[in-house]
Assembly symmetry: C2
């Protein structure tokens, strides 16, 4: 990268915010996956105007631009595909600009940590529901780029359901403003929807106007254990068919339960095929209680071996402890894990889990499965040791087979992580060539020079 | 239109389904507005394959294609912009293809009447919530083209929130399939969102896979009357802030109330500035009752002059009668009405209504205002006599001023009707030139010959 170009970048964002030593660049070469890719320069702009000026320079010089939040992504979307180009880190843009209590909206910069935003609005009785498990270290901008989900999304919807408006720096550096405070808007194409989940390939989201709801004041939680996965799956359908929409309906399979129990000694029954954590929430305690009691009743009718209903906050925290311990528990079981994010029609959960088990048995590596059963969104985690090259070879093969299993039952590659670099080889099979062609035309229309996060989403 | 081309069309859809007599064409020259535009030919294809073949012929011959459902649109989106071209009416594609009870989805052809679809799924305990007032004569395909809303959308969301997948015939006749039964899907760009609300300018939606929910079993309704609009508006915010999300929060202003009372003699208090109809619904009777009782309490605290809570279904129907009688009542008051569809931030409802009153006073024509207060989505209806040319001139001026009023308070041109031909002149002011440019690039990318519904959405 020539020194004249670097100087131009320094002129925009200041010397301190242009990083190019090998040590600095190394920090921005990773995300939440096993992929790596080093940028030539990292910029830390302070505002939308600076992002716009930097992208204009990049466009002129044909330098690839990779937008990045905290780099916790699970699809290698925020690291350069090939060596080179610039990473634009939005972490300095971490200010909440306005909370409008009357309209229940928040205007925020993209670099705000999602948990910080949630805490700020909860202080005044409002609520931003999406809760990806990275919530404490991922940014709103990253969540928007991936259209992130989380356990609460069954009831409340995903990140995109809360996006009312965006400030986006386009591929030529122009600044686009979409949407506004009105809840309904059919004036032209749905640009909020198009940019949300586009993983930085169509523009850099620098600010977002988000819809909020009233903070639920009560929550009740139950844990149900099922001898058979079919029973657990049937229970999910029965609860939703009864008109109850729990905040969460989280599934853990036997392999996950065994890992958790070995690590945490919580007294979980590891002889069962699956457990469900069910949580209801809302503004009215009686309603929340009625709903969880109905869920418990349904669990018993649909074949639960046991159901525990938390009687107080301590018991509630203890039920969630199993679910929250999954990641550290898996880490104790094997040096590495690779977590996928398939989503299937709810009715196909038992079948896809059977298929995943066969994949595990075939390759001799465990797959722990947990996820958001109400949405059909499962996280199969392959447990392995990356230091053993033959295991890594198996893992790559298993990932391909996991995607095949999902597509075979009418599922999809990703429910909340995105495509990034890693799922590109499977895109055409998942979506078909016409869909890929339509999406490439949109990409080409908005980024004709292909400088925005090149090498992501689309098959090479 | 040359006879060879007509013959090719006949070969695809059959002689009976190619209309070109002046009488037949006249039927397809109108929609729910005052606009007119005659096609040269109307086609009634039986399936997606026929639509695809017809669009291929149209593309080759550079003939404009205007997709149409039942022609009840409120923005002149489904009639030709200029004389000529073909209308493709999807009304023969009126079959429900699959109801999947376990996954709560319905696969339907685009020409199914929305009320028919609702009745079919309600028979088995499922529920398709969007309820545009045209529900008994508009089609699912038309609803998707406009991303239609309705009173229930406060709680349940708009049409787009239920679209899981689409079959779309593209501008070159290729068939695109988007989405699927998984509830969450971030595999690539959100094409469901892009096509929904695109008013037939990017493709013809021929089939849709829609998400369903459990049918709410109970509903409770109250009518609250407010001496001041400010009180009514404050009530809306207070109810939502309390964590209650009613199915509907419908507002009627004094002009609307006077019209209804004059026509229907329902005993409405016409001395008040506004009434709110509040409805809660759900699976559990006690919860639904608790919620409406809380709403009634809030109404009283926030200054309602009177609140009536329906004690049974008869009383409930009687409260809704006022809201449902608005259209016929306005028709009695003046020979013509022109209804707009602005959406403003909830907090701006009182201010925008003041502005609308000034517009009414300035031009000497009444504006009756009603709409979905919870969403900030208002329908100002100008009452006039089209036979008097100077009145029509005033109406056109008033429409422009209504849009200005909405934009001035942070609102938008349309919450659920769409842009069509009629709102094009205001688009640049509403969205800004960058947004229009981005949207035109998307249109150009997907319809390079500009044959799909030309002259709609975008400024000339």
């Amino acid at each position: 990268m020539d020194s004249h170009f670097i100087k131009q970048l320094v002129n925009v964002v200041g010397e301190k915010h242009v990083l190019h030593t090998p040590e600095d660049l190394a920090v921005y070469s990773y995300d939440g996956t096993f992929a790596e890719g080093s940028p030539e320069v990292v910029l830390l702009p302070a505002n939308t105007e600076q992002v716009s000026r930097v992208v204009k320079l990049a466009a002129k010089a044909r330098v690839p631009v990779v937008p990045r939040g905290m780099g916790s992504g699970m699809a290698a979307g925020s690291i350069p595909m090939v060596e080179g180009g610039m990473v634009i880190s939005l972490t300095r843009m971490n200010h909440i600009l306005e909370i409008d209590t009357e309209n229940a909206t928040v205007l925020t910069e993209a670099g705000v940590i999602t948990a910080d935003l949630q805490a700020a609005v909860e202080k005044i009785g409002l609520f931003y529901p999406p809760d990806p498990s990275s919530i404490r270290h991922s940014t709103i901008g990253g969540n928007i780029a991936c259209n992130a989900g989380g356990p609460r999304c069954l009831k409340y919807g995903v990140t995109g359901d809360y996006v009312l408006g965006l400030t986006v720096v386009l591929a030529d550096g122009r600044i686009l403003k979409t949407g506004g405070k009105p809840i309904k808007d059919v004036t032209g194409y749905d640009l909020n929807g198009l940019f949300t989940g586009s993983e930085g390939t169509l523009g850099l989201v620098t600010e977002a106007l988000l819809r909020l709801v009233a903070k639920p004041r009560f929550a009740k939680t139950a844990l149900a254990e099922f001898a058979s996965l079919d029973y657990a799956s049937r229970t999910v359908t029965a609860i939703l068919s009864a008109g109850i929409v729990p905040a969460s309906l989280e599934l853990m399979d036997q392999t996950a339960l065994v890992c958790i129990e070995e690590a945490m000694h919580l007294g979980l029954n590891t002889d069962v095929e699956a457990s469900l954590i069910i949580e209801t929430d809302g503004a009215d305690e009686q309603t929340v209680t009625n709903e969880i009691v109905s869920c418990v009743k349904i669990c018993k009718e649909t074949g639960a071996q046991s159901v525990k209903l938390a009687q107080n906050e301590t018991e509630r925290a203890s039920l969630w402890k199993a679910r929250r311990s999954i990641s550290p528990s898996l880490a104790r079981k094997a040096p590495n894990k690779l977590g996928e994010d398939i989503t299937v029609p709810r009715s196909a959960i038992p079948e896809v889990i059977q298929r995943l088990r066969k994949i595990s048995a075939k390759h001799g590596l465990p797959i722990a499965i947990f996820g958001h059963a109400g949405d059909g969104n499962l996280h199969p985690n392959i447990l392995f040791d990356k230091r053993q090259p033959e295991q890594w070879g198996k893992v790559e093969q298993m990932v391909a087979e996991i995607f095949e299993a999902s597509l075979a039952v009418g599922g999809t590659l990703s429910g909340e992580h995105g495509v990034g670099m890693l799922k590109r080889p499977y895109m055409e099979k998942a979506l078909g060539s016409v869909s890929i062609d339509v999406q490439c035309h949109i990409k080409q229309a908005l980024d004709p020079l292909n400088i925005l996060n090149p090498g992501k989403i689309f098959p090479a």
